[in-house]
């Protein structure tokens, strides 16, 4: 680019315009090469771009749905892992559970980013987004459920009273066997 600019800057000697947009074949002496159909270019610009865009947006929405469904596989995977981990508290099960909780949360935080490439005026991302969110929430729920089965959720009265100090007594009494 810089080269071109430099040349252009030093003065143009000749130029070839490849973008010959003239539609009429008669405007040129040279006939169109065989097989060259000017008609295709002749088509309405807007139609072409619409078609293109349609295709693209179709593809985008398809992709978006795919992305939105991706957590489902994750969910199954997670479920399997959790089943494998068992219901006792140890390093493995805690690791699994926390990753099961962390993944949906981080995914939910990055919802905008995940669907960024598929952003389009024409594409309705609400559906995929909702599905994505729902699936991730499902994953989160799975994680929370696992946390609960491990007994790490404060859902019992015992979790709330376990460190309650003893109640003060109003009366005080002392004494014993005389010295």
């Amino acid at each position: 680019m810089e080269k071109g600019k430099g040349i252009m800057g030093s003065g143009r000697r000749w130029a070839v315009h490849f973008s010959d947009n003239s539609t009429a074949p008669s405007s040129r002496d040279i006939p169109d090469p065989p097989g060259f159909a000017r008609a295709s270019v002749d088509q309405d610009d807007s139609t072409v771009s619409r078609q293109k865009k349609d295709a693209e947006s179709n593809w985008k929405s398809q992709k978006a749905w795919e992305v939105a469904q991706a957590p489902f596989k994750n969910l199954l995977m997670m479920g399997f892992m959790m089943w494998m981990a068992g219901n006792t508290v140890h390093l493995f099960s805690i690791g699994i559970t926390f990753s099961a909780l962390w993944q949906p949360i981080s995914a939910l935080q990055g919802v905008g980013k995940v669907f960024e490439p598929y952003k389009d005026n024409k594409v309705d991302l609400l559906g995929p987004k909702l599905l994505f969110i729902a699936l991730n929430l499902g994953g989160l729920a799975l994680g929370v459920w696992k946390l609960n089965t491990l007994g790490l959720l404060p859902t019992h009265a015992s979790d709330w009273v376990s460190s309650l100090p003893p109640a003060q007594e109003v009366e005080y009494s002392g004494g014993g066997i005389p010295l």
Binding site: L152, P166, A167, E171, S173, P178, L179
Partner: protein, 984 residues
Amino acid sequence: MAIRSFLILFILFFFSSLNPILSLYEDQVGLVDWHQQYLGKVKQAVFHTHKTGRKRVVVSTEENVVALLDLRQGEIFWRHVLGSNDVIDGIDIALGKYVITLSSGGSILRAWNLPDGQMVWESSLRGPKHSKSLLLVPTNLKIEKDNIVIIFSNGRLNAVSCIDGEVLWEKDFEGESLEVQQVIQPPGSNLIYVVGFASSSLFEMYQINALNGELLKHESAAFSGGFLGEVSPVFSETVVALDSTGLILLTVSFQNGISFQQTPISNLVKDSFGPAKIIPSSVTGIFAIKMNAVTIVIRVTDENKLEVVEKTNHETSISDALPVSEGQQAFALVQRAGPEIHLRVKLAHNWDDNLLKESVKMDQHRGLVHKIYINNYIRTDKSYGFRALIVMEDHSLLLLQQGEIVWSREDGLASIIDVTTSELPVERDGVSVAKVEHNLFEWLKGHMLKLKGTLMLASPQDIAAIQSMRLKNSEKSKMTRDHNGFRKLLIVLTRAGKLFALHTGDGHIVWSYLLQSLQKSKVCQHPIGLNLYKWQVPHHHAMDENPSVLVIGKCGPSSDAPGALSFVDTYTGKELSSLSLVHSVAQVIPLPYTDSTEQRLHLLIDADKHAHLYPKTPEAISIFERELSNIYWYSVEDDNGIIKGHALRGKCTGEVADEVCFDTRELWSIVFPSESEKIIATVTRKLNEVVHTQAKVIADQEVMYKYISRNLLFVATVALKGSGEIGSVTPEESWLVAYLIDTVTGRILHRVTHHGSQGPVHAVFSENWVVYHYFNLKAHRYEMSVIEIYDQSRADNKDVWKLVLGKHNLTSPISLYSRPDVITKSQSYFFTHSVKTIAVTSTTKGITSKQLLIGTIGDQVLALDKRFLDPRRTVNPTQAEKEEGIIPLTDSLPIIPQSYVTHALRVEGLRGIITVPAKLESTTLVFAHGVDLFFTQLAPSRTYDSLTDDFNYALLLITIVALVAAISLTWTLSERKELQENWR
């Protein structure tokens, strides 16, 4: 919350997977623990100084210890602690190789091999009646080449062979009222004189042939004045006695018939000081009498004339006679005068000349000289030198030689009455602090050695160096507070009325103070030290004040004897003030209130049931009056079998009008039927115990609420028949009843009967449980039972939302007058040992699990996890219960050899175990005392909150440095590579 519950679960899981055994590696002995051996107040000492060999002395003490000490350093060669019911009556050395002890009221005679302390023989002596016990080892009396020992005990005279302890002959003295006072064996003769009084006015003399026990002569003579107290032999056929008024001295000669010679004391000394008392001495021709504070030394001339040789106001001690050359006897007199003690050694027949006269500087806090024993040696210039073993008022034992203290032993520490603790001063600029490490190089060297040790590269020398480094760590004996709260002062009160401060780091004595209020004085003839309380524990706003302790004593053993208070600063060891009370002290109740200078309010109840408040300040009175209606007290009258509860009523009325005196009224009483129940043990929770939580989470997330009350009393009663020795009753006649009583309302919360069981009961109360130890007659085994008490009325608090929002009344103050709804759980287990005392570990926040510390009959301290005494134990616990840490039920409690806290040591004569929380939650400090002292640190759930001492910081440091180096290296390398990539 979630994190906390997770953490708790995690910790629970972590620890349930650990083995509960707490043991020590061999090289960890002495790192945090220390052990000190003592003897007690010396009662009798016998020197053993042959010309060759080591110089030694045999002592017997009031703690029933017989020991052989090295005369050079005062170290113990060997020591035997006889039981508390095996009181030593006399000791002596026979044949130059046996130590003979007479004990148990003259019924057991033992011979110990002198060099190594092994028992050679033992014989038991019986007799017709109880009497004085006297032991005599004549030097040159032989029966068929057999040296004999003469013993008078239980109304019978015995001659026992020195070789095998066989009784050669015996002679009973069954005279109805005969009280034998002295057995005299004149040296060089085969005669034994037994002198005594009969029916208070008859003087009796028996002359016995020492070779066969034949009665040669019996004479008796009446003296109308009667006799008082002891007799002192002055010559082999003359004794001195006092008449029943204590004003006339009698010289009794029984050489040719009994003749009395009366000498009124007023003839000897001008002014009379009241009734006299004879101080017996074995010195020929010399004896001493004591009248109040005046001591008079009297010489008996050949014509049985009495002659005062010395009269002094100083407390004087006279030694026994020491035979020196040519049949002469030497003896020593010792007196205290101000900061010095004066020692004089004289010959028995020559009062006017001193063989030796010395003044020795003596610490004021050792008090008066109580006893002296002398021994001679031949100096290089062939003259006689004397060494003196003296026993001081504070029960310490010292050896004096050539005007100097050669060594001293603090044997008062063998009889500790009470223990409390005090913090050390905070480290400030002004406070001198021992240097910890000399420099970085030393520090690195030390850690390199440790590293070598960890990597098993250390040579034996290195290992020895590491071990000595660990033991000599100067950090532990610093005189300032540490972060973990391991360094404290143990303040102990001994029977001698002396206060000691021991450093927990290595057990050295920081200061000692002989309390004047607990010394014999004109107003207080028999002072007794009772208890120690923390008087002032400064923290927060009163930081500049020094902490102080309150020492409570009383004059005499009666219940209405006036009390005495002393306040002692624990940093300086000086007495701040002392009070002689006009009222008696029956109970001391430390109240849970402090004034603005952090002085704790104490309530002293006298024998008339008046309450006296200390400190006597208006501020304290106003605090007290505000809380007056909530303060109660109870008294346990174990003789009558009554427990009474009292409330305070208001200021005293009547003749004792005092600002700090309060009247009390009786509220309730529990009367136990006198035939079927006798109170043998009561125990309450420790006042300073901290409980972390009121809830106990059990399997399946259920909650049980502990019934935690400061006002619970555990009482154990036994059937009157079963209150004797174990095995004296049949199982059908004996039972044991355990009660839990609320001491405010007098409500009996729980009562359980153990049929066929018997005392003694040892119990410990902590949080919401009590553990007690007794004997099961049916099973012929000792048993331990646990009772846990839970509050059922709180169990309905199950709504999580209410708990989340804090809409519950679980922590609001409660009154004991509200009707409690309690349930108890209990379980019993067999236990192999009989027990001397039980204590429980205590930590700062009460989170760490508890261990019972059991003082076994073998004088060791056994740590037993509380989990073994859990009433929820079942034979087959469910999975959830197992996770909770419940151990499958077994019929007996396991005794794991590794869990002896005292490891290979013994705390002879164990009497008490005290636990003090360190600042570090996992750790508790344990102090066991008896004749010996033992201190250690314990971590019942291991030190989960700190790194251990042998943690290798150098290794950690090296790893970190290596990692940082590796990171920076790889980073530069990757930078360079990236740059090269870019250039390509």
